[in-house]
Every structure is written in C-alpha cells, then in structure tokens.
Symmetry: C2
Subunit: 208 residues, 2 copies
DNA sequence: TAGATTGTTAATCGATTAACAATC
DNA sequence: TAGATTGTTAATCGATTAACAATC
C-alpha cells in the first residue's frame, strides 16, 4: 500500500497547482512544484511515476491536465455524504464548516445522545443516536465523523462500522481500533498540542 | 532532531500508562505497553533508551515513575498560555473545548477582525486583532492558535511570530512557512478528509 | 539458580534523493 | 542542433525490527 505521506503530498501538489492556475500558469516543471510544496524535484517526479502521471520531456506538465489527474487519483469526482456523531463544540463547528463542500463532502445529519440537542429542523438536522444505524444504511452514508468524548468513541465507531460506513474521521482524543473493512483517520488535538509543546521546549534548549 | 513519530509515540505511551494506572497496574513490561500502543516491544525500548529512560531487567518499569518521566520529557509540568485568532466556527469550538486544561494549556483570549464578535466579558474574551501584538507581549503568551480563513493565515502567523509566540497550531487549510524561531503544527481538516477518501476508494478497489 | 526482561548493537526495511540516459 | 527536463534506476538515509549479551 502507498504511504500516507505520499498521498498527503498529492493533495499539496493539487493545492499548489490551483494557485498556479489562478496566476495564469499553463505549464509547470517538477522543480517549480517542488519548491511550492517544499520537497525535492526528484520526489515530485517519483510520486508522479508511481501513479503513472507523465509529462513532456523538456515541456514539463500541463497544469490543467495535472489537476484533473490528481483529482482522479484522490477520488474527488463524486460527492460523498457524511454524518457527525456528537453535537458538542467540535461537532457543531464541523456542521457549520464551509470548507468541506468544496472537497465534495456534504454533511447531511448529526446525532447526539442528549435530547436537548435534537433539532430536526436545523440546516444539518440533529437526531437521537438510536436513529444512526437506519439513517446510515437508508442513505448510503460512506463517511462518519466522531466528535464525542473519549469514553464513547469506540462504541460509536462500532455502531458506524456495523451500519456500513467506509471511513471515519475521529476527533475523540483516543486511538480507535477498527478492522480492515473501515479506514480511520485520527485527529487528536490534545496530542498535537502536547507535540507542539515538546518542540517549543526542544527549540528553546538548543538555543541556550 | 528527534522525529515527530517518536514524540507522538511518547504521548501514546503516556496515555496508555494512565489507563493501566487506573486499573491498578504498578509495573509494566515493554511488551504490555507495545501491545497497548500497537508497536513492537523493540520500538518501546528503543524510544525509552533515546531519552535515557531505564527499567529493571526482569522487573520492567514502574508505571508511576514512567508517567512522570514521560511528562517531564513532553514538557507538561508548567502551564502554558495560548491565544486563538479567528472566532469563527473552529475558533469558538476551541475556546470552549475542555480538553486543553488537562494538557496544561489555558486559552486566555481570542482575537478577530469583525467587531460584531468582540466580547471582552466572555469567559474567553474576544478582542480586536489590533490588540494582538501588545496582548501577546504583555502576557508572555507562548502558543498561538490560528483559526482564520486560508487567505489571512500567513499574515496572522507573521503577527504572532513578531509578537513573540513560540509555537503555533494552524487550522487554516494552507501550509504556512515560518522561520526557525517558531514551531508550526498544521491541522488541515480538508486534507484529512481528502486523504480518508483516497483510502476508502483504495480499499474498495482491492476488494473487487 | 534458571528464567525472563532489559538495553543496545546489527540487520532490515522503506522512503527519499541523486544521478543520468532518454528525448523533446 | 544544443540545452533542458523527464522518468527511472541506483545510492543514501533514517527509522524500525530482530537478536542477543547482560543481568536481575
């Protein structure tokens, strides 16, 4: 399987290419792209060759074509539906986050255990967690977002997996285990902060 | 410099150790910890040896002692003050997020460009962005959290850097550049979703 | 003691980079 | 054509894992 870092770089190439396109750039060379994304030109060409993307010797790559090829690889050409479980701070922020639409992801519903939070009229309706299973299977939901406290997270993941979700973005500060039927990406804010503090301190030490 | 993955593992060891402690476990062996964190026992011992953590041959490691040693390395023994710039969806969610306190991080203020969002009375007061520079230097703020749209992010980073912030957590969907005086961790939700979609599709393909 | 576990060194693995022939 | 850039192979680098002597 192809490593996460490689796929992350493809996303960055794509983002950079959108910038170039906006500036009217039509063709681009591996070292332009490398500089924009802060990697080596070899890395760019290697990544492309893994996915069979080819350019023109001496002519570089067509920006437009390259964007389409990357979109194709990253699978952004069909819209995906997602649900959120947990209508707390993070969950509500994600419901209102506008950045997902442009990535082809629509958040169609949220679920919570607390009846005070139910709101079937909202832009993104909030239902009881007991409706999760049928909602996912009836609406062919492929993506689940977990935004519940750590203690509840594994249980929610199991529910989602059982209902047929294919991929999960987990914001609970705990590493979840899933079997091979489902992909889980963990976003652990506490861990990121802890990590940041380590490097702040490390950097202070080297300066002394 | 020690790689990010290694530091991330230290955080995970610590989390796992808290669980063990809660269960009344007093001493632990490298392979217990390895299993809990899903790495090899060699990895655990190697990581510990890098930081001079040693156990007892045949006796393993004392859970309590190990937790303290890890806390020490991760630099969690003094409280750090943080500010947020951007009081939109993500910014407000982070202001109310309770998980940071237990990591020794206090969010003391937020800043925005929109006067409608100002609120000096709030639990986490929201000020105009023009106050950012003096607030950071007067209050010796070490950590900045960026939760503004992509177009504004680099500018905010420059402000923070100039005011003396040491580390930044960036939620804007753009990779920021900073010089060596400041550490930046990027959390890119759109990129995480894009990445998830790739692996969902890849996993579907291998099953066909 | 005999057996189990650490700490560290050497081997392996995978990812990144350098080099260069092919070629536009 | 001469010069520049790709695509790919080989070399390098760093991180992970295996092995095992030391020792509790």
């Amino acid at each position: 399987m192809i490593g996460r870092n490689c796929i992350v770089r493809l996303s960055r190439y794509k983002n950079a290419l959108y910038q170039f396109k906006k500036l009217g750039v039509v063709k681009i060379f591996s070292d332009n792209l490398a500089e924009a994304v802060n990697v080596t030109a070899s890395q760019v060409r290697k990544d492309f060759s893994i996915f069979g993307i080819s350019g023109n010797k001496r002519g570089g790559y067509q920006v437009e074509v390259l964007i389409e090829q990357l979109k194709d690889i990253l699978g952004k050409n069909e819209v995906q539906k997602a649900v959120i479980v947990g209508a707390g701070n993070i969950g509500r922020a994600l419901m209102n986050y506008t950045g997902f639409e442009k990535e082809g992801i629509t958040i169609v519903a949220a679920f919570d255990i607390d009846p005070h939070k139910f709101n079937e009229q909202a832009n993104v309706p909030i239902f009881g967690i007991d409706k999760l299973n049928s909602f996912i299977s009836n609406n062919k939901i492929t993506i689940g977002i977990i935004a519940v406290p750590a203690v509840a997270a594994q249980q929610v993941l199991d529910l989602m997996e059982h209902a047929g979700v294919k991929g999960v973005l987990n914001f609970a500060p705990i590493s979840l285990r899933a079997n091979n039927n489902i992909v889980v990406n963990n976003i652990n804010l506490e861990l990121e902060l802890e990590n940041l503090i380590y490097y702040i301190n490390a950097s202070a030490r080297t300066k002394e």
